[in-house]
């Protein structure tokens, strides 16, 4: 067992607790947070593939020492194949996702520390706790452990919004919590129903119970569990009808916070989407639900973004719309479609963070995010304007940037799956995305500067420019060499398309 696997969760938790203790010690917080955040993307690179059994409790078939002396009721039945403890699975897809999450977290934390005059230990605590939760969500093979970290991630999200001190943040945070107060227990209820039917909370064991015929897969209770888990999937990732509250959450966070929060949403979407596909893919309705919801998210998210005047809200809606592309890839159910969807997830996390931090420089300089009150920023910050323009091109899928490759793969996958109309919708939505972006870009950078617009901070921190350059470099790299990403995803995609495990 590789001890680095659990350390990917433990390290950010320790960082979070440590930063909280250092409240009001500005320089120490800065130094420690940056050093520790740098470890986040390094850990998944160093860790080797494998399973981690907490407490060393591997299934009895893999652990003859433990099974000695146990009653035949356990060793002589299917119980011997079950996982008795929480299990973390670290494979290619997890390596890639945790690396991307770590990279976005590192850059967002770095930007936050340099853009804030007095760095808050509590803000760092929330960011690190969120990263720890999402890492656990991506690693765990235990659906109850997933629920626990799903809740912690929701609390960390609320925490980031509360600490941001943006006007109206308390109201939005409370709304989000009330909706979460309904969705989360329903997720637990779905897990309880699965536990009741299969006797397990380990996902691999649940699947083997269903496949081996120990449990009737057509049991209506399983269908109900599927419905409840899908409901919490909608909440966790901000899919309709939760798209408005999710975009409001992004708009009430500081831009670097929003960059990280959208990464949380995308990875929650991917992790729970994979769980739904793994457990319920034998139900034809599960794929239809994923396709339907994703299509709705794409259309609603992107068209509502076009109507917004607040930049953060606009990109919040665009982020929701982009989730639709990922969902369509997953919902197609083919190995190529799933690879394309997961590739799009990686690209979306990077590009949306790029845009939030890029446009965040405007908020940093002016304290304003309403495009009607902005203008003339091209003269003030031409380099940032160019970087933001490239980020917008990336989101719209302009070659040779990364989303071009993933969106092209998605369109090809939809044609291969016999659904070319989905490809047409995706192209149309990409055009609307580009229009939305250009509307914001024109208003902020190309229009004359309004007289009443006050510049509070003339100079953008170099750390922010560095973060934007890193995002651009990664976008170009993944655009030119897509196999760098898809190579990590193929094993998972093939197994999902062929029926798990």
């Amino acid at each position: 067992m590789d001890l680095l696997i659990p350390l990917m969760v433990i390290v950010p938790i320790i960082c979070a607790l440590f930063l909280n203790l250092l409240h009001k010690k500005d320089r120490t917080i800065k130094a420690i947070a940056i050093t520790l955040a740098l470890i986040l993307p390094l850990l998944p690179i160093l860790a080797s593939y494998g399973m981690h059994y907490f407490g060393g409790y591997a299934p009895l078939t893999e652990n003859p020492t433990l099974s000695t002396g146990l009653p035949s009721l356990i060793t002589g039945t299917a119980l011997k194949t079950f996982h008795p403890a929480i299990t973390y699975s670290f494979q290619g897809a997890q390596k890639l996702f945790i690396f991307i999450l770590g990279l976005v977290a590192f850059l967002a934390i770095m930007v936050s520390l340099f853009e804030t005059k007095r760095p808050s230990g509590v803000y760092g605590f929330m960011m690190f706790m969120g990263v720890a939760s999402l890492t656990a969500i991506l690693l765990t093979d235990d659906i109850f452990n997933f629920y626990v970290f799903f809740e912690i991630a929701a609390l960390a999200t609320v925490g980031v919004v509360l600490v941001s001190q943006v006007k109206g943040n308390y109201e939005t945070a409370l709304k989000y919590m009330i909706l979460g107060g309904i969705a989360s227990p329903l997720l637990l209820l779905g897990i309880a129903l699965l536990l009741g039917v299969t006797g397990n909370v380990n996902i691999t064991d649940i699947i083997s119970s269903l496949k081996s015929g120990m449990v009737n897969p057509q049991n209506p209770v399983i269908l109900m569990a599927c419905g409840l888990i899908v409901f919490s999937w909608l909440y966790g990732s901000g899919l309709p009808p939760f798209h408005t509250i999710k975009s409001a959450i992004y708009s009430k966070a500081l831009p670097h916070g929003a960059a990280l929060l959208q990464a949380f949403s995308v990875f929650t979407f991917v992790a729970l989407g994979i769980i739904i596909l793994r457990i319920f893919s034998y139900l034809p309705i599960s794929q239809m639900i994923i396709l339907g919801v994703s299509l709705l998210a794409m259309i609603l998210g992107i068209t509502m973004a076009l109507l917004q005047t607040d930049i953060k809200r606009m990109f919040g809606f665009l982020a929701v719309g982009e989730l639709g592309y990922i969902g369509l890839g997953l919902g197609l159910g083919t190995a190529y479609g799933i690879t394309a969807g997961l590739f799009q997830a990686v690209n979306e996390v990077l590009i949306t963070a790029f845009l939030f931090i890029g446009f965040g420089t405007i908020y940093y300089q002016t304290g304003e995010s309403d495009i009607r009150k902005l203008g003339g920023m091209m003269i003030k910050t031409p380099l940032v304007a160019l970087l933001v323009l490239l980020a917008g091109f990336a989101m719209a899928g302009v070659p040779p940037l990364n989303a071009f490759q993933s969106k092209l793969m998605l369109i090809q996958a939809s044609i291969q799956a016999g659904l070319p109309e989905l490809g047409v919708i995706m192209i149309l939505m990409s055009i609307v995305t580009f229009m939305t972006f250009m509307k914001a870009f024109h208003a902020v950078y190309m229009r004359p500067k309004p007289v009443e617009l006050e510049i509070k901070n003339e100079k953008i921190p170099q750390a922010t420019i560095l973060a934007l350059l890193v995002f651009l470099a990664v976008c170009i790299l993944f655009g030119l060499f897509p196999h760098l990403v898809t190579g990590f995803l193929q094993t998972l995609s093939i197994s999902l398309a062929g029926g798990m495990p």
């Binding site: 002396g69 146990l70 009653p71 035949s72 009721l73 356990i74 109850f144 626990v148 809740e151 912690i152 929701a154 609390l155 609320v158 509360l162 308390y170 109201e171 945070a173 409370l174 709304k175 919590m177 009330i178 979460g180 107060g181 309904i182 989360s184 227990p185 329903l186 637990l188 209820l189 897990i191 309880a192 536990l195 009741g196 006797g199 909370v201």
Partner: protein
């Protein structure tokens, strides 16, 4: 009779969840909404406890002198109880945060009306 106890618990859990959802969605007072959310969480916890109930079973603590086979056959399934314990802790933390936010909002708006504070 024991089965009836389990069924009664399951029905109570269902009722708590339905009442909780009604309160959280339709009541205008923020504190009542939070109480509704607590009902949903408690209903789910009761559902889990009821599921882990084993008619005639014993507490799942292995004591010296117990035969392993006998214990394996008679002990209640411990997993739902462990899950409920965790769920209670999570529920308490979430509720503490919610009530904290409500206190701040009450000081700001001087009201607990959701329609006034949260809008639509």
């Amino acid at each position: 009779m024991i089965i009836d106890t389990q069924l009664a618990s399951l029905f109570t859990a269902g009722a708590l969840i339905v009442i909780g959802i009604f309160a959280a969605v339709f009541l205008d007072n923020l504190i009542k909404k939070v109480i509704g959310l607590a009902f949903i969480g408690d209903g789910t916890n009761l559902f889990l406890i009821a599921m882990g109930y084993k008619p005639g079973g014993i507490v799942y603590i292995y004591l010296p002198g117990m035969a392993r086979d006998w214990f394996a056959q008679n002990a209640a399934y411990p997993l739902p109880f462990a899950m409920v314990l965790t769920s209670i802790v999570i529920g308490a933390s979430t509720m503490a945060v919610m009530l904290g936010i409500i206190m701040v909002l009450y000081k700001k708006h001087g009201s607990l009306k959701a329609s006034k504070i949260l809008g639509d």
